[in-house]
């Protein structure tokens, strides 16, 4: 292959305001490139304040047209930000977009180094690497593949339901998969049932939505536009074609167990159950681990009383395969286990409650019929303490702010005032009420007379030291506003527990080819500009799976993810990056080493001709086979051996040092 020396290369060094220019002498880099890389084909090198601005782009376009540039190197930010910008600019000027290379002198240089002279020299090396690499670039055309119109939404919380409804309303099919028997939410300000259930009913009855509850994703294969998903449908033991949801089976079932999921351990449910009265779908499931029939072989009370004969004890686990074009992940969060903070006494001191328990308690259909009472079920508390940031903003547990707890704690304070008129203390570190109408709500709670104590609670104890503390829970706290230690006796403590990533977030990320942050939240494509897309094309995230957020934000993300998916579906086909491996059929010796290396089974072996071939539709472009081929018969577009070897040369400044012998 011989391309060297014949290309006309333009080099564009960006100041990025002072982001780059503050630490790198950009004029010097451009001047250096023009002089020292001239013999490598650089015909023009410019620096400009903002290369990504329309004026900066026009500069490149003009040079392409007037100077007949055949290659472009832009030294600016990470290609993950502006590669597309500059490729598009080149395309506008008639240059194949893949003949443009963006090298990062911001993230990899100006932002991470502190010596301007050194950073300038490193930038020169980076530019030189880009110039050597771009010489070996080839004009490429993106691959076009059709997009399957169906979408998979995983998780039936508010974000998932919102996304499913938006897409279904636009007329496209949606599979909504939820692993619990029905959907649930953790309410914030409104009555949860009032906001979520209409949505659930809508989703459950929508002709374009296939609701699959009590089901889990087993496997995801394929790529954007063409995913194949295996779903495990756990056996309900109820034939949903026959069941009318009358509820007689639940009445007649003789066995009750503690409901950890929906009632937060405060109440009971039957062994054949729907999680709550308004659950969608209405069909119950039999909890086989606790069912007397499954344990002992007798009972069958539900079957006896079912008027339609819908009970089916023989139902087996089903594996359903579906094809979808896009996937939205809205799997939500787990609640922090307050037992982990032993000094707050949850699980040890009876009248310490978690936020979820308190939510259930205030629900009219909940275990206490909406009465706020102590663990004995009858006594109304006179003084209630609400502790914020339990498991959040705490180096021992989670560094982040869970974002919903302040508002939730304010709501609790309001409910206590309104329902039982008790005295309320809120213990907070900082009050965070940034969204619309939130601070007004805080003002209202202040006016209602809630006591606010600023300081992290040290301990909740039942060990009385002073008169008046007997039989109470004492909250030990440093009130940082008055600079004093205080002991405040209360009857009931509510812990506003943190939102945590799902315990199986890592496995989920792996299944869908996503990555998690150190905390365990899924990483978005860009934290500001692209919060619902992920690095994996065709897979979107919405709601708390991306990070702690309240209902309005979750709904907004659900809708945003749906809009992105709809945009994709409307295009009917998608252009894929043409980064693929190809095998030179003349060079291939048929050794088959590459065959087993490919995780996507993209390499087929032709036994008749004794050569291997890559199926471009299946190839994902990782390049492992390219690196492994002993005959050098496989080349990887976009990341060829020539390109990478040339970049190494460039980074080591051979092109410049060659003028003198390499320093020994």
């Amino acid at each position: 292959m011989e391309t060297t020396g014949q290309e006309k290369i333009g080099v564009y060094v960006c100041h990025c305001g002072s982001n780059i220019a503050g630490m790198v002498d950009v004029e010097d880099v451009a001047k250096w490139a023009a002089e020292q890389l001239k013999h490598r084909g650089v015909v023009i090198a410019r620096d400009y304040k903002f290369m990504c601005s329309s004026l900066g782009q026009e500069l490149i376009e003009k040079d392409i047209k007037e100077l007949g540039l055949t290659r472009v190197v832009v030294a600016a930010c990470s290609p993950h930000l502006h590669e597309l910008t500059f490729r598009t600019a080149c395309a506008r000027a008639g240059l194949n977009p893949y003949l443009c290379e963006l090298v990062s002198i911001r993230e990899q240089c100006s932002w991470v180094h502190t010596d301007k002279a050194v950073a300038t020299e490193k930038s020169k090396a980076i530019v030189s690497g880009g110039v050597e690499r771009v010489i070996w670039h080839e004009p490429l055309e993106p691959l076009h593949v059709p997009i399957h119109p169906a979408t998979l939404v995983v998780g039936g919380g508010i974000a998932g339901i919102q996304a499913a409804l938006e897409i279904a309303d636009a007329g496209y099919p949606v599979y909504l998969v939820e692993r619990e028997p029905s959907n649930k939410t953790f309410p914030t300000l409104d009555c949860s049932a009032c906001i979520l259930t209409p949505r659930m009913v809508q989703a459950g009855g929508h002709p374009n939505i296939t609701l699959m509850t009590y089901a889990e994703i087993e496997r995801v294969d394929g790529y954007v536009g063409n995913f194949t998903v295996m779903i495990k449908q756990k056996p309900r033991s109820v034939n949903t074609d026959l069941c009318t949801g009358c509820g007689i089976c639940q009445e007649k079932c003789p066995k009750k167990v503690v409901d950890d999921v929906y009632e937060a351990g405060l109440g009971y449910r039957k062994v054949i159950y729907t999680p709550f009265p308004q659950a969608v779908p209405k069909y119950p499931v039999i909890d086989r681990e606790n069912c007397t029939y499954f344990l002992k072989g007798t009972c069958k009370a539900c079957e006896k009383f079912c008027p339609t004969g819908a009970i089916d004890f023989t139902q087996q686990e089903e594996h359903i395969q579906i094809e979808v074009g896009n996937i939205i992940l809205a799997t939500g969060y787990d609640l922090f286990d307050a037992r982990r903070i032993t000094q707050y006494g949850y699980g040890r001191l009876a009248n310490v409650f978690t936020s979820l328990e308190f939510e259930r308690m205030t629900n009219a259909a909940g275990p206490t019929n909406g009465n706020i009472v102590l663990r004995d079920g009858v006594t109304t508390p006179k003084v209630v303490g609400i502790i914020h940031c339990v498991g959040s903003r705490d180096k021992n547990y989670n560094n982040y702010c869970s974002s919903i707890c302040c508002m939730q704690s304010l709501k609790f304070a309001h409910l206590v005032h309104e329902r039982i008129g008790a005295e309320v203390y809120n213990f907070y570190i900082d009050m965070r009420t940034p969204a619309k109408s939130y601070d007004e709500f805080y003002q209202r709670i202040l006016e209602e007379g809630t006591h606010f104590v600023r300081g992290r609670v040290a301990e909740v104890t039942d060990a009385a030291r002073k008169p008046g503390e007997e039989g109470k829970l004492i909250i030990q706290v440093e009130d940082t506003l008055i600079g004093k230690q205080r002991r405040i006796p209360v009857d009931m403590v509510i812990l506003s527990a943190a939102l945590e990533p799902r315990h199986d977030a890592k496995e989920t990320a792996k299944k869908f080819g996503l990555s998690c942050s150190a905390d365990g939240w899924m990483i978005e494509r860009h934290p500001k500009l692209d919060p619902v897309a992920t690095m994996t094309e065709g897979i979107y995230i919405a709601g708390c799976v991306q990070g702690p957020k309240d209902i309005p934000a979750s709904v907004a993300q659900g809708a945003a993810a749906a809009a992105r998916v709809l945009g994709k579906i409307q295009q009917k086909e998608i252009a894929l990056e043409p980064i693929r491996a190809t095998i030179d059929q003349d060079k291939c010796s048929g050794c088959r080493i590459c065959n087993n290396l490919c995780p996507f089974n993209a390499i087929v072996f032709h036994a008749d001709r004794m050569v291997s071939e890559v199926n471009p539709a299946l190839c994902q472009g990782c390049g492992t086979c390219v690196a492994a081929c002993p005959a050098g018969a496989i080349s990887g577009t976009g990341f060829s051996n020539e390109q990478i070897l040339a970049q190494i040369d460039g980074l080591l400044l051979h092109n410049v040092l060659r003028m003198e012998p390499i320093a020994e």
Partner: protein
């Protein structure tokens, strides 16, 4: 020598994890030694051991190879292949008389900008204590890579 030796290190990064970690280090303004120059690959599995030898032969004093943590490969399992090649490569380097510590494999997820920076700093210190590689003199000539000749022609 009164001046401290500043090694040149070529770093290979994976598009999905460590390149992003480098981006993140930048965004978070985490400072690290300027001795490393990064190359983006789509996957650590793309790393042909030849690249490492080429870098060392061409004047680098050390090479950093980075990829997704085991089990987190964007392409399912290709980082395991990188690991296998890395272990073989270290053996080859030893046989060639090159300290295998000059080549280091680091797993760094997209969230680990700080960790990547720390690993880079550590490697720079390690290579600094080893001293310059001096491939040309200590190995008596280069390996005769095709590309090296191409550059010669152009010059």
């Amino acid at each position: 020598m009164s001046e401290t030796f500043e090694p040149v290190i070529i770093g290979f990064t994976c598009n999905w994890c460590s390149y992003r970690a480098a981006d993140l280090a930048g965004t978070a303004r985490v400072k690290y030694a300027p001795n490393v120059r990064l190359i983006r690959l789509m996957c650590s599995g793309r790393l042909d051991p030849t690249f490492v030898l080429k870098a060392l032969a061409g004047g680098a004093d050390g090479v950093l190879i980075t990829g997704c943590h085991p089990g987190e490969c964007h392409y399912l399992e290709q980082n395991y292949k990188a690991l296998r090649r890395y272990l073989l490569l270290r053996r080859t380097l030893t046989q060639m008389g090159i300290e295998p510590q000059r080549v280091k494999l680091v797993w760094a997820s997209a969230a680990e900008g700080v960790r990547l920076a720390e690993e880079i700093n550590k490697l720079v210190e390690e290579i600094r204590s080893l001293g310059p590689l001096k491939w040309k003199t200590s190995l008596n000539g280069d390996l005769g890579f095709e590309k090296a000749e191409t550059v010669e022609v152009a010059a």
